[in-house]
């Protein structure tokens, strides 16, 4: 069964259905979108069940000739990393639709358009992780910008157009560098046995170290902007601040993962030597991201901005894990990508509800919500705890794996990064104190608690956060072989216990 193309076609079909609906029937559009995303989610889970977890090769491989004269194929396939991320994306999609039931109202265009954009975006989210042809990957990588651009610019708030343009410019700049590198790879492949965009074949290319370094940078900067890694991060707070909460979830939860996913799939695989050359630099950038994002989050006055900054910190952890080159750090980083999707989703969705009820996103405008809207407050609190990596919640497992794995090879980096956990406590507890605790401030007395739809949306997210905190094994068992494979391909093995030099 052609699972992957089916997965990609389903949301498109949903989009077609939504677009065929009569004008003005918003409810039907929402229901169709929700139904589609649920079907996709079920299909993805069905696919994931059949995944052979000890097989490190690509699975569910499909390939169709697309532009034969350039050797371009519509080639799909997943390894464990891609599978996990696709799973995350497709689980998040219905949650986002359900949670943001009313966020399309008041946009520049119709509600129908909003859901068409979301569904098209879902197709691309699946495609970008499943693509095994570099050209296909690039096309989707760039094409994803289009729906997001319209989602931010058309349905956001505040300076949405400026934010959308900033997002687009940053991403296009990175994409341009990557395009140059991709063309270079293509040309070189022509000189070494036939033009191709196939990743496997491209990874066999022989190139000088200078070439490899340059091409690596082309890819890495594109992914670092996407991820985002300091100092390429400034688009994220603006975009997250202006986008609707649902869009922000997809933006931070899924789209940004393309960056870190790309680092593993493309940077490490295609340019192993250059990766090693640049690892010291990248590790430093990652550590800076961790602390920098945390500090900015501590000082943030706007709740959406705060969440965006925390994500910068978390992406620092992911990047650090990827380049630390130990199986713990690698597994941790991959697991972190999955977990971060959910903890950020929870934070953003609840923050979105808070903001839509209060009509303000300034933290200082809230106060004493715990007594007015206990369920909403608790949801936010648990999401926050997950974000600060409290043991027993999912982020802890991944964050600790990253730290412990990094420590075995880069103790200094790991130690500095660990200071991030104290800062994390601050950046979560400060808004918790200001918004949820304290006396109920004027303007908050009559806020309504979560309704059934919202509870239904947030419950699975929190369930996943808690469940994976206590029992991450099912995911880890899928991830581990892939992570170990990446490490061994790079020629690394886990450092043996040093016994402290005895």
């Amino acid at each position: 069964m052609k699972w992957l193309s089916l997965l990609m076609l389903l949301p498109l079909a949903g989009a077609a259905i939504v677009s065929a609906l009569p004008k003005g029937n918003d409810k039907a559009a929402k229901q169709a979108a929700l139904g589609t995303t649920l079907v996709v989610m079920v299909a993805t889970i069905a696919m994931a069940v059949g995944f052979q977890r000890d097989n490190v090769d690509l699975q569910y491989v499909e390939s169709y000739a697309w532009i034969p004269s350039f050797g371009i194929n519509f080639a799909l396939g997943v390894d464990a990393i891609a599978l996990v991320l696709i799973l995350m994306s497709t689980i998040l999609a219905p949650i986002v639709v359900l949670a943001g039931w009313n966020e399309a109202h008041g946009g520049r265009w119709s509600v129908k358009t909003f859901y068409i954009l979301i569904l098209v975006l879902e197709t691309m989210m699946i495609g970008v992780f499943a693509a095994t042809d570099l050209f296909l990957f690039y096309v989707i990588f760039e094409a994803m910008l289009i729906p997001v651009y319209f989602l931010i610019g058309g349905y956001g708030s505040g300076e949405r157009s400026a934010a959308a343009v900033k997002f687009l410019l940053y991403s296009l700049f990175g994409g341009l560098l990557m395009l140059a590198a991709i063309i270079a790879l293509y040309v070189m492949s022509g000189a070494q046995g036939g033009h191709t965009f196939d990743i496997d074949k491209l990874s066999q290319l022989q190139m000088s170290s200078t070439t490899q370094n340059l091409l690596f940078l082309g890819f890495f900067i594109a992914f670092a902007i996407k991820a985002p890694v300091w100092p390429f991060h400034t688009w994220l707070p603006d975009a997250a601040n202006s986008a609707t909460p649902g869009t922000s979830v997809l933006l931070l939860g899924v789209l940004d993962k393309v960056g870190t996913f790309g680092m593993i799939r493309y940077c490490l695989t295609l340019f192993p030597d250059a990766s090693k050359t640049f690892t010291p630099l990248i590790m430093v950038l990652a550590v800076i991201s961790i602390l920098y994002g945390a500090f900015l989050a501590i000082g943030a006055k706007d709740i959406k901005r705060l969440i965006a900054y925390t994500s910068i910190s978390h992406f620092g952890f992911i990047t650090m894990g990827i380049f630390a080159m130990t199986s713990q750090a690698q597994s941790g980083a991959i697991l972190y990508m999955f977990n971060h999707g959910f903890s950020t989703a929870a934070l953003f969705l609840v923050a979105g509800w808070m903001i839509s009820r209060r009509g303000s996103s300034t933290i200082a405008d809230f106060g004493g919500l715990q007594r007015i809207t206990p369920i909403m407050a608790w949801s936010f609190f648990i999401a926050g705890l997950s974000s600060l990596a409290l043991p027993g919640l999912s982020s802890f497992v991944s964050e600790f794996l990253v730290l412990v794995g990094t420590f075995t090879r880069y103790p200094v980096h790991a130690i500095i990064a660990t200071f991030g956990i104290v800062l994390a406590a601050l950046y979560i507890l400060i808004p918790v104190q200001k918004a949820l605790h304290g006396p109920t401030t004027p303007g908050n007395e009559s806020l309504k608690d979560l309704n059934l739809r919202e509870k239904l949306a947030i419950a699975p997210v929190i369930a996943i956060i808690v469940a994976l905190g206590f029992y991450p094994s099912p995911l880890l068992k899928v991830i581990n072989p892939a992570a170990t494979h990446v490490i061994s391909q790079m020629g690394f093995t886990d450092p043996a216990p040093s016994n402290g030099g005895k």
């Binding site: 940053y170 794996l401 412990v404 130690i415 104290v422 406590a425 016994n499």
Partner: protein
């Protein structure tokens, strides 16, 4: 090792209680407190059952373990969700569930007027579960889960009345300072994994002999940082006083009897590490000594009864830490003091709660006085705890504290003398401030506010106090009779360097200790019982008192060294992010824009100037050709 499959119920019962109460919401308001108490009590029951099972087994079979499921397996990093119940943890299990249950019972009445009582009990159960996980975890990482779990429960309970901004701040402060300690624990785990390849207690113990002392010292010091954070030891002690914002039963359970002693548990549990790292041990002792004096000094100046008790707690844990740092001999005494302290300090806190209950939640001791007649049971239970903490024979503190003082002297040399004298002076100051608390609260003249109507608390409240008072009286004797606790814990600790002969005869040490205590009591008596006590704190006091009232400047220090620079850094970074990082990007755009508008001047619309530009371009082209040709 014995494989048990019932250990999990210890944790599962209170955890289920917490889950039911939190998820059940208002529906469980009516019976929630009862369920929580029942869960705690049944967990205690399971603990007793486990103890019986343990006693049935031969010594080397006593530790029991249970593997629940595979938690994190990545490469060589293998951590199972596993529980370990040995002679050390059973002490804690019984203390936690026992005292915990008593405090549940107490809280039923104490919190009966609070409309959020259900939530309070849910948190209490959550705390019990986390604390049990802390002491039952079979690896440092499992311990870590419980470690942060109790931190969370503590955060929730300190901030239980978080509608008051100060209380919310106190809870945040506690959590963040605890996190600093947690960071130490993270480091310890990381170093342990990097050097030994394992993080389980058993694994680390096996690997100690193959590991360099430097690594072990590093692990030990990091564990000490963790312990300092959780146990309010110097320099991470500042949160404990503020933590008194929580309801009094919380102070009794978490911030006196159980959670704050987790640091001592951690050090004792890691005895194999510390035994092999003398430097780390020395630092432990120093931290303990500093804290015991620090806490004691703060205690002398506090008028808030709970804060005085909190300072006392800090000081007493300093004793335990000091003992734990003295090596194999000290571990058992640290644990003994921990257990007796659990009884008498919890009892006194509950007594304080009872007093507050009768005095409209007044905490200022200067507004008490002469409560003996109105609250006889509270007076008696509190008084028994008082005698215990002073170390008057035959009360519990006598057995445990004297042993620590003895051991301190036994350390030998200058170290022994310094430590011994420190502990003796600490005992004297303890006697002073505890006597002060007693006198100010229960004797002397009435200094109440007019609307105060002191009365004895209901039986649900005094019963736990009474039980704890019995513990304060008897636990010391029971635990030290025939060195019961020492022998019980004996198999866990390394006794390669057997008991040294006492350098000073125990009886002399006891004599010295009692003399010091008597001096302390006497000073307090003359200062507070023989003079009129004003109901407001006098302002014309010595600089030392002023400093002590401000907790020896600990908050000022933290503010000046960490908070203000941190805030400045944050503000700077935010500005810099806008100006420099984002500014660089926007600068590029600006350059493009301004060069565009500069170049736009060339497009003036006049065909002739375009033609001139073409001409110049042609010249450039020809010049280029010319250069290439030549």
């Amino acid at each position: 090792m014995f494989i048990s499959n019932t250990l999990v119920y210890l944790i599962a019962l209170p955890l289920a209680g917490a889950a039911i109460l939190l998820l059940g919401g208002r529906r469980t308001n009516k019976w929630g407190h009862l369920l929580a108490t029942a869960m705690s009590a049944s967990s205690f029951g399971v603990g007793l059952y486990q103890l019986m099972l343990m006693l049935d087994r031969p010594t080397e079979q006593r530790p029991a373990s249970q593997k629940l499921f595979e938690w994190i397996h990545v490469g060589e990093f293998k951590v199972d969700a596993g529980l370990l119940l040995d002679q050390l943890s059973i002490c804690f299990v019984l203390l936690i569930t026992g005292v915990g249950t008593l405090i549940h019972i107490y809280s039923i009445s104490y919190m009966s007027h609070d409309k959020d009582r259900r939530r309070f009990f849910a948190y209490l159960n959550l705390f019990i579960a986390s604390m049990l996980l802390l002491v039952l975890g079979d690896s440092y990482l499992n311990l870590y889960v419980g470690w942060e779990g109790v931190g969370l429960a503590s955060y929730l309970l300190i901030g239980f009345w978080n509608q008051k901004p100060a209380y919310a701040t106190a809870s945040k402060k506690a959590f963040v300072m605890n996190r600093v300690g947690d960071m130490g624990l993270s480091f310890a785990i990381m170093i342990a994994f990097a050097t030994m390849g394992t993080v389980s207690f058993v694994g680390v113990q096996e690997q100690v002999s193959q590991t360099s002392e430097a690594a072990l010292t590093a692990i030990g010091l990091m564990l000490l940082v963790a312990a300092a954070g959780k146990s309010a030891q110097f320099p991470l002690q500042a949160w404990l006083g503020d933590a008194m914002a929580g309801p009094t039963p919380v102070s009794a359970l978490i911030h006196a009897a159980t959670m704050v002693t987790a640091g001592v548990y951690l050090i004792t549990r890691s005895n194999f590490v510390f035994d092999a790292a003398p430097t780390a041990q020395l630092v432990v002792v120093i931290v303990g000594a500093i804290t015991l004096m620090f806490g004691a000094l703060i205690g002398t100046a506090k008028d808030d009864i709970k804060k005085a008790l909190a300072a006392s707690t800090m000081s007493q844990i300093g004793y335990m830490t000091l003992a734990a740092g003295l090596g194999p001999v000290g571990y058992a005494f640290a644990i003994m003091h921990l257990l007796t302290h659990g009884f008498f300090k919890a009892g006194m806190f509950l007594g304080a709660g009872s007093v507050m209950h009768g005095m409209n939640d007044e905490v200022n001791m200067r507004k008490y006085g002469a409560l003996r007649k109105f609250m006889p049971i509270t007076f008696v239970t509190f008084g028994l705890g008082y005698l215990a903490i002073l170390g008057i024979p035959p009360f519990a503190g006598f057995y445990s504290k004297d042993l620590i003082i003895e051991t301190a002297f036994d350390a030998g040399g200058a170290k022994g003398i310094i430590l011994g004298i420190t502990t003796l002076i600490g005992a004297s100051i303890t006697a002073f401030y505890m006597t002060r608390v007693m006198i100010l609260t229960f004797t002397g003249t009435k200094r109440w506010d007019e609307d105060a109507h002191p009365h004895e608390s209901p039986w649900l409240m005094w019963l736990p106090m009474a039980i704890l008072a019995i513990g304060s009286v008897s636990s010391g004797y029971l635990l030290s009779r025939g060195d019961a606790l020492e022998n019980w814990l004996y198999p866990l600790f390394d006794h390669s360097d057997e008991y040294q002969k006492h350098l000073i005869e125990p009886i002399i040490v006891s004599g010295m200790a009692l003399t010091m205590v008597a001096i302390g009591v006497a000073v307090a008596y003359f200062k507070y019982a023989r003079q009129e006590v004003s109901s407001t704190a006098p302002e014309d006091v010595s600089i030392f008192t002023k400093v002590a009232r401000q907790d020896l400047m600990q908050d000022r220090f933290n503010e000046a060294v960490f908070m203000r620079p941190g805030q400045a850094l944050t503000t700077t970074l935010i500005a810099a992010d806008q100006a420099v990082v984002d500014g660089a990007v926007r600068g590029v755009g600006q350059v493009a824009l301004s060069s565009g508008s500069a170049l736009r001047g060339l497009q003036n619309g006049y065909v002739r100037s375009y033609a001139a530009i073409i001409l110049v371009g042609a010249i450039a082209l020809i010049a280029a050709i010319w250069v290439v040709v030549s």
